[in-house]
Symmetry: C2
Subunit: 250 residues, 2 copies
Amino acid sequence: MPDLHPTFEKLVRRLERRSPLGEEDRRALLSLPYNAKRLAAGAHIIRDGDPADNCCLLLSGFAYRYKITGEGGRQIISFHVAAEFVDLQNSLLGIADHSVQLLTEAEVALIPANAVQELALTRPAIARTLWIDTLIDASIFREWVVNVGRRDSRARVAHLLCEFSLRLEAAGLASNHHYELPMTQEQLADAVGLTSVHVNRVLKQLGEEGLIRRDRRSITIEDWGRMRQAGDFNERYLHHDAMNGGGEPA
Amino acid sequence: MPDLHPTFEKLVRRLERRSPLGEEDRRALLSLPYNAKRLAAGAHIIRDGDPADNCCLLLSGFAYRYKITGEGGRQIISFHVAAEFVDLQNSLLGIADHSVQLLTEAEVALIPANAVQELALTRPAIARTLWIDTLIDASIFREWVVNVGRRDSRARVAHLLCEFSLRLEAAGLASNHHYELPMTQEQLADAVGLTSVHVNRVLKQLGEEGLIRRDRRSITIEDWGRMRQAGDFNERYLHHDAMNGGGEPA
DNA sequence: CGGTCGTTTGATTACGATCAAACGAAGTGG
DNA sequence: CCACTTCGTTTGATCGTAATCAAACGACCG
């Protein structure tokens, strides 16, 4: 086991924000065995159908989960930033029901799934916080179902850009609704169920409407209020304040 | 606390299929305090934004979860049959991020969320099995994201009909790919992100192609192989065999 | 400097939405 | 029991959003 990577501390802080941990719990988390790797952009953490015996913590960079349809279409299911478990779900269910791929070059910590399960079985507070982690993941999935199922193209991409803004900010990677999009328009399209051509047109339109400004991959949401409205965005589903429950009314 | 409803036994059996429980665990689950109610079709278990302090176990009947968009569109996010927790997710996160409504008249057991959390904190095996339950829910959400995001109308409804077939069969409510649809075409439409008019046409077409036969709400999948193909359906995501991991290759 | 990948724009097509209306079944009250 | 209502299903006609096809452009890289 290598020296502890600093992102582990961030992980603990993130988990703690949601459900309190004792000193013992923190120590246990920080002494999980793991295997750190630096991988290139595009590398696969796991592929749909493979047995999953490691659970992957993202130490730096970005990743996404996706599935491929029989017709060959790709649907991106979630995005992940550093200090997030990107493969907890696969690894606990034994066999992967979706693929996980790196968006950028990244460092990952592969933690034996057994070790995580063992920890959860012996440390109730850790079990609880990890459970909440997957509950929040599920909440985001639900919102994505709504996004691709019932919103038009403009709202879909606006919603996604809003989500990025808050999540990246929470991760310390954005401020003032300004951030660097870690992905191509094609990947954006696969996340919202559109074509990249159409996403491009929507981005252009959002720019013309003065909702966003962009320069290459850099995005600035110029009018958060109107953007929220355009994307029918309500951050409650992110549960960034899971401890005190709920956000403000619209 | 009223006499134990028989569905609790079913719940225990269902949870056990996924992760072993001890005798003590079983007893603890079966002695959870609850408040049983019989509610009419259309009754709400909880509404988006409300505080959630009970977690709802469906004792009989059907329920679904949904969200409403700013434009007024409804997206159904999941369906539930008897012996499933229909509101575990809301109740553990404190404030509901979606609504839950009954599809049919039903009996529900309202269990104080505290009691469930307490149980999870003191009984690791129960924490584990409930966690797996929410992991499987999340897996289904992921598949639904793919369904509404990247499949055409025919595949979407075929996929949903396939999912129903297996889930109802697992619940003892279907056999030989024959079952009673517990919902209207409008609700079906809101589950797959289409209009009810279009769902109706797709159902008609699936009938003409000889994939299904229907009479009123009764559905028979006549050609499971072709139906699976039409719906791009792979049951692995349901994790009905969570213990031994994975399904067969296509 | 050529090559690759991603972005941008234009032209056309098609899938599913929308609008509209009739029909059928189940339930209600006179 | 029958008129009447309501809700869901079915069918038809038209419309519009996003897909598809195609091509040029720009940035980054070896």
